[in-house]
Amino acid sequence: MIYAYAALVGLLVAVAVYLLLHPDAVDNVLGLVLLGHGGNLVVLGAGDLYRASAPILDGSAQIADPLPQALVLTAIVIGFGLTAFAVVLVARMDRAEEAE
């Protein structure tokens, strides 16, 4: 499980790097999104997600650490804000170039 999870993160980052190296600005933004998701998955994985059950206290033995799940929520929100700004910036760039 952990290896599949790591491979998924690796794939996301690899595609992100590929898109970031493209000359097209929209591709770059998509690359940033995927890079952020790669980071988010690493955070999520830090909580022993793949070895334990969901962090709901019902008396069962092993639950996953809930803190990384809280952290990843914060990171997703921040990433969404950054992406929204990047998209607007790229759109404004496009319009400025068309105007010339």
């Binding site: 940033l32 890079l35 980071g39 955070v43 921040i78 990047a86």
Partner: protein
């Protein structure tokens, strides 16, 4: 004192909210932002004096137990930096009352400045790794908008580079923080430090890998070689008030690097050895590029890059036990304070020149020395200070780096520092020749009214006076920096 610590962050955000309520009334926004920045300055002074007297203050947010709570911590290094940003915010907001066009204000520039100040204060005052990441994002988002306000094409281009590079840096940081948490199950600086110390014995390469990952993330924000390229592209483009405010942003990056390397991660010789190279190349490449720039703020942006290298140099030679690293760290801290003050000063002076001449490329600006002697005086003090002429703060700052470098046998680093100092002087000679001496251009540009003159020159003179005073009272300043260095390394002075 914990109340003051909390207010340091709460005050700017409340003031920003109040400004947003007055969205359509620019005068009210400006006034409230100025009052708020005065309040922040008063709080920063109170916090600094309180901490200097009674030692660091900790605040466990929400009263969670230590190790679980997000911890805010005001130690002397943090309070000094908070004081610097408070002074800077006041200067910038005062400057902006004249310099900033009305549309910028009604678009929410004052609350954005306050939110940026909140983010910077939070980043300085936190003792929690993930919380540090969140504060960095807060200040980055505010700076994104300030950078793009106005929407000129150069701004959008510079803004895109800035945004993309900083998002990449944030992704690296986030991954690094996740690895730290996976390795030690903690986010509090002190808890990480104690748990990494045992881990570093068993798996040293893992610890160094995580540390380097975080350092690359912070290094992009600090604009060190070879990660600095976004800074000179983006900083010369927004309204000059904002560029001056951004002078503190690279400082936040270096501050975080110092916290991580000295305060959190155990001693790793390889990291310090790499930092020596990073510092030397940052100094030389930054200042050498400054010499050949054609525009005023591009020159100063590259100088900003180059002189961040000195701070990293102080950090790089500090390696080893706390007792032996104190003098080099104190030099780095003094340099960081000096650097932010004087860089902001120069950016503001560039802003005045742009206002007077309506342009900022280094041809046809001439003759300002006769027309604006106050500005010329402030520029001479600021420029000589950056170049390292005694008795200004830049001289003592460079001495504080060079002396420990030579004492530890870092000859090449010392040589690079001296070379960078000479290149800086050349860059200033170019600005002086282009803008202050020589003949004025045919079109003299707009005249300033007395009121405008007072509001534009007070911040400039204040910051130039600050570098002079930091130099004259260098002994006292180094005593404070020494105490800050000790606390940074985790021991009481």
């Amino acid at each position: 004192m914990t109340t003051v610590l909390a207010l340091m962050i709460v005050t700017p955000v409340l003031a920003a909210a109040a400004c947003l309520a007055a969205w359509r009334i620019p005068h009210v926004q400006r006034g409230m932002a100025l009052v708020a920045s005065l309040a922040v300055l008063a709080l920063a002074i109170a916090l600094h004096l309180g901490v200097a007297e009674a030692g660091p203050v900790d605040l466990l947010v929400g009263n969670w137990p230590m190790g679980m709570a997000i911890r805010l911590r005001a130690d002397p290094f943090a309070t000094v930096m908070v004081l610097v940003v408070a002074v800077l915010a006041l200067c910038v907001l005062m400057f902006a009352t004249v310099e900033l066009p009305e549309p910028y204000v009604s678009f929410g520039a004052p609350p954005l400045v306050l939110i940026l100040v909140m983010g910077v204060c939070g980043a300085f005052l936190t003792a929690d790794l993930f919380n540090l990441y969140v504060w960095l994002e807060v200040l980055l988002l505010a700076s994104f908008v300030l950078l793009a306000l106005g929407g000129a094409r150069a701004q959008l281009r510079g803004g895109t580079v800035y945004v993309v590079l900083n998002i990449i840096s944030s992704a690296l940081l986030l991954t690094g923080i996740a690895l730290v948490y996976a390795a030690v199950s903690a986010l509090d600086f002190d808890v990480i430090r104690s748990r990494l110390a045992t881990l570093a014995v068993d798996r040293p390469s893992l610890v160094v890998t995580i540390e380097v990952m975080l350092l690359v993330g912070f290094g992009i924000k600090a604009a060190v070689f070879p990660l600095f390229f976004w800074l000179p592209i983006s900083y010369p483009t927004p309204a000059p008030s904002f560029t001056a405010l951004f002078a503190v942003l690279a400082g936040v990056g270096v501050y975080a690097m110092m916290r991580i390397v000295v305060g959190v991660f155990p001693y790793a010789p390889a990291v310090y050895a790499a930092l020596v190279w990073v510092a030397a190349l940052t100094m030389v490449v930054g200042t050498a590029a400054a010499v050949v720039q054609a525009r005023l703020r591009a020159v100063i942006s590259f100088l900003d890059v180059g002189h961040v290298g000195y701070v990293v140099a102080g950090l790089a030679i500090a390696g080893g036990a706390a007792a032996t690293s104190r003098d080099a760290l104190a030099g780095a801290i003094y340099y960081l304070v000096h650097h932010v003050v004087v860089t902001a000063d120069l950016f503001l002076i560039a802003g005045v020149i742009r206002r007077l001449r309506g342009r900022e490329d280094l041809v046809g600006l001439g003759g300002l020395a006769h027309r604006e002697p106050v500005l010329a005086g402030a520029f001479v003090i600021g420029g000589f200070s950056v170049a390292g002429i005694p008795p200004l703060s830049g001289f003592w700052a460079k001495l504080g780096i060079l002396a420990p470098a030579l004492a530890r046998g870092h000859w090449w680093l010392a040589a690079a520092a001296v070379l960078a100092g000479i290149l800086t002087l050349v860059a200033f000679a170019r600005i002086w020749n282009a803008a202050f001496s020589g003949k004025p251009p045919g079109d003299p540009g707009p005249e300033l009214t007395l009121g405008q003159r007072v509001l534009l020159y007070t911040p400039v003179v204040l910051l130039s006076a600050a570098t002079l005073l930091l130099g004259v009272f260098a002994g006292d300043a180094f005593a404070i920096a020494g105490a800050a260095a000790s606390w940074l390394a985790g021991v009481a002075p």
